[in-house]
Symmetry: C2
Subunit: 254 residues, 2 copies
């Protein structure tokens, strides 16, 4: 809550990424219809698990045709640019240093961000790979102050419940001292923002998905995945002075 208290009033552009659960619901529908004796837990692919929540999705029968449209996609030759080994090493090293300077920032300036940059960030996020090229995502850009305020209220209410009831006291106490907790996943968007000189922090507010979805008027087959406050860093922005694990602690070779 400390995060949202400090950040929300000054959010320039709040981006919600909703992953449409079309993929999931179609998959589920097919499986339910055809695999009746199979254990459901085993049958559930990871991509499906990720999208699980309490919402029961109505099955859209038309959805079954989504693959057929692309079934006969032609293949074309692909020969991307090839670099010399020295150039590869240089580029990989340069990119590492760029990304290593990226930090999650919770203090965001009130300055307006060029809309063209946000558009390109989202265009870029849209180049992400997706299963069977379904591109199952919607990015909701929120600039309206009232909507941002309402999202903040939803998050604060749910967090209060999370902290007080859903989690243990010790965990909450730890978490508070650590400030906000972010998602272990990596988002392209945070990287893209960063490349353009903006900052963000990856958040996945617990249990807020359905209410935020309704607030934004998004359909039931979409799930809130990420909520990214985006903007310039505030002049007095600070970050925790931590170190990253060295390579030998995160890499194993076989």
């Amino acid at each position: 809550m400390a995060l949202f208290s400090s950040v929300t009033p000054v959010i320039i552009a709040l981006i919600c990424i909703c992953l449409a659960a079309l993929w999931s619901s179609r998959w589920k529908a097919r499986r339910d219809r055809k695999v009746e004796t199979e254990d459901r837990v085993n049958a559930k692919p990871w991509a499906d698990e990720d999208l699980r929540d309490e919402t029961e999705l109505a099955v859209d029968e038309k959805a079954g045709s989504f693959l057929n449209d692309d079934l006969e996609v032609q293949h074309i030759p692909y020969s991307p640019q090839r670099y010399s080994e020295d150039e590869m090493i240089r580029r990989a090293n340069e990119f590492y240093h760029l990304m290593n300077a990226r930090r999650s920032v919770r203090f965001i300036s009130e300055e307006a961000v060029p809309r063209e940059v946000i558009d390109n960030v989202i265009r870029t996020a849209g180049t992400a790979p997706s299963g069977a090229h379904t591109e199952p995502w919607t990015f909701v850009v929120i600039q309206d102050p009232e909507t941002k305020h309402q999202i903040r209220e939803i998050i604060e209410e749910e967090e209060e419940i999370n902290y007080m009831k859903r989690m243990g006291k010790k965990w909450v106490s730890d978490l508070r001292k650590m400030s906000w907790c972010t998602y272990p996943w990596v988002t392209r968007s945070s990287l893209h923002d960063w490349n353009a000189g903006l900052v963000t922090v990856t958040t996945t507010p617990l249990n807020c998905g359905p209410r935020v979805r309704v607030l934004l008027g998004r359909p039931e087959n979409e799930k809130l995945l990420l909520l990214l406050p985006v903007g310039y860093p505030a002049k007095d922005a600070t970050v925790p002075d931590f170190k990253r694990k060295p390579l030998d602690e995160i890499m194993v070779s076989v």
Copy 2:
């Protein structure tokens, strides 16, 4: 299976990304101990859901202290480089065009890749944000041909079961024509490989996690998240000739 038949013999470096479920298991352990009356489904945060599988994790009591180590981390000022608006727009546009040229490639050359590049790709992946800066990941780089062969066998066996039993026939038939199905999530690694001139395809083989984990000698608190074959594209590599959705189909403004 078509993918793995063609790709596996020529894989140069196969990278498994295992996300250590320490986060998840600690969270779960705390909750189980302290929140007994609460509905478990509601209590489950998304990050936890993502890591769910059938493995029951032993609770490491020492794990409870993982947050305390960092509790008193100092904050330091953070003022990253600021670009002019024109420069921001230029950089965002340039990055979009670079990423828009990226494709998932299933045909990989046998040529060796400079190890220094792989190391830097993993260093870069390690700069991803994580909840409470836990950096809960291990990247396993597999160059040993026998291990790669065994992984291929595991995947083919499980896929056979997936296709024949776990999914419906129609879906399987669609999927076959579409070749392999990739994860809707975005990985930094695929982006990093691409930046260095390498290609990959994001795969999340269904139900293979525990067997691959055991093969690689990884502990029970880790889950296989992604399996990325990495290398130069083959000379005759092809990709489906698809288009991406335009911005107005993936973006909504409020």
